[in-house]
Structures are given as structure tokens and as C-alpha cells.
């Protein structure tokens, strides 16, 4: 299902703590780009990646968890940088830890996971980048000539 601008805007306003599954510590990876951008726009990032959790390495100054189920604080959104076929178990975990939204990144679209979380009353977004959508709706993306689809006579805020 396609999410309209006002639904996405509300989601990005409400979900201030984001667990980023598959977050890389390498600066040039898209997951790092997105998480860094969201962090600098006031979001709390919780990295989830077993590769780094084992070594105790931090990403963006945050403790890395091996699994969503290990996280000890409330999470609003699960943002998935994994292959489409790996998303379904993450959707199940997202429901179990009580998040508001499952967000599958650009190129990730597991429709079963989408169905599952929607039936559980969660919001669901797939095949979109959380950073790009934030910049599209709250400003920034327009500076690189992207068609944001925003038509309005109100000041951005």
C-alpha cells in the first residue's frame, strides 16, 4: 500500500527512536548515510547488527545490539537494511517489541512482512529511504532538484 505525504509526515514526527537493522559502521554505506542523517535531525538511533555487537564496537556513538529482542528501551520504528528475503522474521520481532512502524529501505520490499505488521496494527513502509523521505517532506531534498511532490502555501518548519 502506498503511503501519502501526510501519513509519512506523521510517522516521521511520531517515531523518534529508530532501530536500524543491518547498520554498517563504514561511512560510505547507504545505511550509515541514512542513520547519520536521522541522528543529526534529532532522532535516537539504535544500531542492530550482530557483526559489531559481538565486538562491543559503537556506531555513531551508540551501543550496537545483536538483535531487536535484545534492545532494553522502547523503540518507535524498525528501519531495515537487509535483503528482502530476510525481513519476515524481523517483522515478527518488531511486533513483539511493540514498535509503531516497520520501514523497509529502498530496494527492500517483503510483502508478507508488510501484510503481517499491518494486520498487527503497525504502520508499514517499503522500498523507500527514511532519509530521503524525511528530506523530501521536511526540506533538503528539494535542494538537489528532486521532485518532492510538495505543493503548499505554508512555510516549512
Amino acid at each position: 500500500m502506498h503511503n501519502d505525504n501526510s501519513t509519512l509526515r506523521d510517522l516521521l514526527r511520531q517515531c523518534k527512536t529508530i532501530a536500524v537493522v543491518g547498520l554498517s559502521a563504514e561511512w560510505h554505506r547507504p545505511s550509515f548515510f541514512a542513520a547519520k542523517y536521522m541522528q543529526s535531525h534529532g532522532y535516537k538511533i539504535i544500531p542492530v547488527n550482530p557483526r559489531y555487537a559481538a565486538t562491543g564496537q559503537q556506531i555513531l556513538g551508540e551501543k550496537v545490539y545483536a538483535s531487536l529482542l535484545d534492545i532494553t528501551q522502547p523503540v518507535d520504528m524498525v528501519d531495515v537494511f537487509r535483503r528482502t528475503e530476510d525481513v519476515l522474521p524481523l517483522a515478527d520481532e518488531a511486533i513483539r517489541i511493540g514498535v509503531k512502524c516497520l520501514w523497509q529501505q529502498l530496494g527492500v520490499q517483503n510483502f508478507e512482512a508488510d501484510q503481517l505488521v499491518r494486520l498487527a496494527g503497525l504502520a508499514s513502509v517499503y522500498n523507500r529511504c527514511v532519509k530521503i523521505e524525511h528530506a523530501r517532506l521536511f526540506g533538503g531534498l528539494n535542494w538537489v532538484g528532486v521532485n518532492t511532490g510538495v505543493i503548499s502555501a505554508r512555510r516549512p518548519h
Partner: protein
């Protein structure tokens, strides 16, 4: 709830510009500044790494120019756009971003003279070869495809041949070979034709023409559809770490606007053919009235075409807006109208044509198109002068051709000026 699909008349006024965040200014502010301050060293690093969006230096991006870029992207139904200092700059950047030495282009033979020179001379210097084909036959494009072909390039409506391209058919040929179709959509403007909706992958414009519309300002723009699969193995520059921008993988990082990002960060940044904020603002003043102007350009041009067709002093008229034009049905399938551009020849041939041009009272003898003013020219001795006779014929430019870019004056007055100039041309 689905998003409202706004119509072009609305997009032409609103897309890309909401009231200024800092001041609430309703009209577009002109950000006449070369540079933008960083909040901190960390902010600067994030901007240079493209990890956050923002302005650094106006050669790369500028808020006034960005409003123009987004507006044309919206009017074309595209994902993103990059502006440039002229239409030729947009075209050059589109091809230079996509191609490298050893690549091959299949292009319509009926291109604007400057485009022919760019392909046949300038790009050839860098080892990029072009095969020119008969744009009337999609199968001619298919026959010219080679294993190293990386782009197909054509005009939606040829200038000045007025050749109508079967965009969907040529897109199919390009896509069967895994390469993008690049369309120069200058003559119809995005109001009359949206090539991306017919299967094209990139559109370039000389914004100097109908987009700006008043003969005052040079500019160009390139729009991407966001639908071309750049990871098909033929475009390593889109998927591999960029040596031109510290290892960024553009397609992986920016997805459906990766091409314009790469064009901005690799080509615009390096070649520097940037549109100035002042020019972007002036062009946008024109864009706001594009739909209104195009309707009148089309109706005036149809009136001129009918007048010329009925005039015994005229040998031939080429205007695909005429119902008996062989490409009229194709035109109507792809476009809202045939633009203000038309071509004709006089029974008195080249000499009568020259006298006609020199006898006009308010029709201006110059080599622009898409002005409010009616413009007349003789392509064989001006815009297409650099081509040899064979190339001129391939481009659809006969020695007797007169090109008119029909303006927005009253149709009766335009017909009056044509008639009196024909009378003088015929007298001697």
C-alpha cells in the same frame, strides 16, 4: 488517501517553491550568493560526504536554481533534475555523465545543428562514436545498435525538421539493448509533451526557448525518470565506487535520482556550466505562464500554417499540427499540440526566401526560437551552417527552408507581416 495529482498549469506555478522558510516570502527569493556557511566542521564533512542535504557552493546547488530544477522535474513527470547554463550544457552533461571512451551513441539525423556537432566532432575527439539514423524509422535505430552502444539520442520534435519521433517505439529499441533513451524536448516544452511518460529515460531542454519564453535568458535542464535500471551491467560508473567523488556508489546510495546526483557531483561540479540564480529566477517567471503561452503559440502557428498552405506564392509548408501532415496522428498521440515552430519554402526558392526574411516589418531575423516575438530564420546559412550539404539534407534542412517561430502577437498582425513580406519577395 492518494496524493492529489496536480495538473501542469498548477505545477508550472507551484512545484518546487513553497514560501521561504526564513522570511515567509511568497515569490521565489533570489539567493545571489556563491557560498553557504557550515554550522560546524562536522556539518561541512557531512555535506561533502553527501550524508546530509544542503548547500555548499552555488556551482553545485543553489536554492533559487533548485526551485527551477524541481519545477521542470514536476512538469516532466520526472524524479529529479539538474539545471545548467544552456541547453547545450545540459545535453553535454547528460552524455558525458553516461558515456566514456569506446562507447557508441545512436542518434537521430534530424538534430539541432549544435547537437550534431557535439556528437560528430566534440565527443568523437574523446573516442565516443555516433551513428546518425533516419528518425522517422524506429527500425533504423535498432539496425544501428552495437554491443558498445550506451545511449540513444533524439528530439521529440525536430528543430527545424519538425520530425515527430515515435518515442515509445524508439524507447523499446533502446531498452531491448539495455541503454537509456535521451530526448531533447525543447521544441514541444514539457507542457505539450512528456517523453518520460512515453518510455524515455532522460529529457534535456534548452530552457532558453519556451520554458523561459521571452528571449531574455539562457539556461538548460536535464530531467531523469528514475526508472532506468543503471545496475544492468552496462554502466559501471553508476554502480562502482566513484573515483570522481571519493568512492560514493551513486546508484546504491541515491536510487531513483542517482543519475542527476552523479551528474551534479561529477559533471556539473567539474565542468562548471552552472545556471546562475538570477537566470533561474528569470526563467521561472516564464515557466509560470508556460501553459498559457504554449496554447497561443500553437493556435497562432496553426493559423500561420493554414494561411501559408492556401497561398499560391508558397511551395510547401511543414507543420505537423496540420491535419493532412503525414505525422499528424503520431503527433496527436504524443503531444497536446505542435508548438509554434514551422517551416516553409517559397516557389521563388532560396532567393525569394532571403528577400522574404529581409522584408519583414516586425518578425525578427535571428536564430532563437520560443520567444514571445515571431522569429524568422534561414537554417541552411545559420544554425546548420557547420553541416555539409549531405548532413543538412539528413537534418531535414533544405536550401530553401525558412523557419518561423510563431510568437504571441495577434494572429492577424502576424499574417499581415507575412503577406506584405511575401508581396515584396515576389515582386523583384
Amino acid at each position: 488517501m492518494s496524493e492529489r495529482q496536480f495538473k501542469p498549469e498548477t505545477l508550472a506555478i507551484h512545484a518546487g517553491q513553497i514560501p521561504d522558510a526564513a522570511t515567509g516570502a511568497r515569490a521565489l527569493p533570489i539567493y545571489q550568493t556563491t557560498s553557504f556557511v557550515f554550522d560546524s566542521a562536522e556539518h561541512a564533512a557531512s555535506l561533502f560526504n553527501l550524508q546530509t542535504f544542503g548547500n555548499v557552493y552555488s556551482r553545485l546547488s543553489n536554492p533559487t536554481v533548485a526551485a527551477f530544477e524541481e519545477r521542470v522535474a514536476a512538469l516532466e513527470g520526472g524524479r529529479a533534475a539538474v539545471a545548467s547554463a544552456s541547453g547545450m550544457a545540459a545535453e553535454t552533461m547528460a552524455l558525458m555523465t553516461m558515456l566514456q571512451t569506446g562507447d557508441h551513441v545512436v542518434a537521430a539525423g534530424t538534430l539541432y545543428g549544435g547537437s550534431v556537432t557535439m556528437l560528430a566532432v566534440s565527443l568523437a575527439k574523446f573516442g565516443i562514436q555516433t551513428t546518425f539514423v533516419d528518425a522517422a524509422r524506429p527500425e533504423a535505430f535498432a539496425a544501428a545498435m552495437q554491443p558498445n552502444t550506451r545511449a540513444v539520442f533524439a528530439e521529440s520534435l525536430g528543430n527545424p525538421s519538425l520530425q515527430v519521433l515515435d518515442i515509445a517505439a524508439v524507447a523499446e529499441v533502446a531498452h531491448a539493448h539495455g541503454v537509456p533513451l535521451v530526448i531533447d524536448n525543447t521544441v514541444p516544452s514539457p507542457f505539450l509533451c512528456n517523453p518520460l511518460s512515453l518510455g524515455a529515460d532522460l529529457v534535456v531542454h534548452s530552457a532558453t526557448k519556451y520554458l523561459a519564453g521571452h528571449g531574455t535568458t539562457l539556461g538548460g535542464v536535464l530531467v531523469e525518470s528514475g526508472r532506468f535500471p543503471w545496475d544492468n551491467g552496462k554502466f559501471p560508473g553508476m554502480t562502482q565506487p566513484s573515483p570522481g567523488y571519493h568512492g560514493v556508489k551513486f546508484y546504491e546510495t541515491f536510487g531513483d535520482f542517482a543519475f542527476t546526483m552523479r551528474c551534479r557531483m561529477e559533471s556539473l561540479r567539474v565542468f562548471g556550466a552552472t545556471l546562475s540564480p538570477m537566470s533561474a529566477w528569470q526563467i521561472l517567471q516564464g515557466v509560470e505562464t508556460l501553459p498559457l503561452r504554449m496554447e497561443r503559440h500553437c493556435s497562432n502557428a496553426l493559423g500561420v500554417a493554414r494561411f501559408l498552405q492556401a497561398d499560391p506564392r508558397v511551395a510547401w509548408v511543414n507543420y505537423p499540427g496540420l491535419p493532412d501532415h503525414p505525422q499528424h496522428a503520431l503527433l496527436m498521440r504524443q503531444m497536446r499540440g505542435a508548438s509554434g515552430l514551422l517551416a516553409f519554402g517559397l516557389k521563388g526558392g532560396l532567393e525569394a526566401g532571403i528577400r522574404f526574411i529581409e522584408s519583414a516589418q516586425f518578425m525578427s531575423h535571428l536564430v532563437n526560437i520560443g520567444d514571445t516575438r515571431t522569429l524568422i530564420s534561414h537554417p541552411a546559412s545559420t544554425t546548420h551552417r557547420q553541416l555539409d550539404a549531405q548532413q543538412q539534407v539528413a537534418a531535414g534542412v533544405g536550401p530553401d527552408m525558412i523557419r518561423i517561430s510563431v510568437g504571441l502577437e495577434h494572429l492577424d498582425d502576424i499574417l499581415w507581416d507575412i503577406d506584405q513580406a511575401l508581396t515584396i519577395a515576389n515582386r523583384s
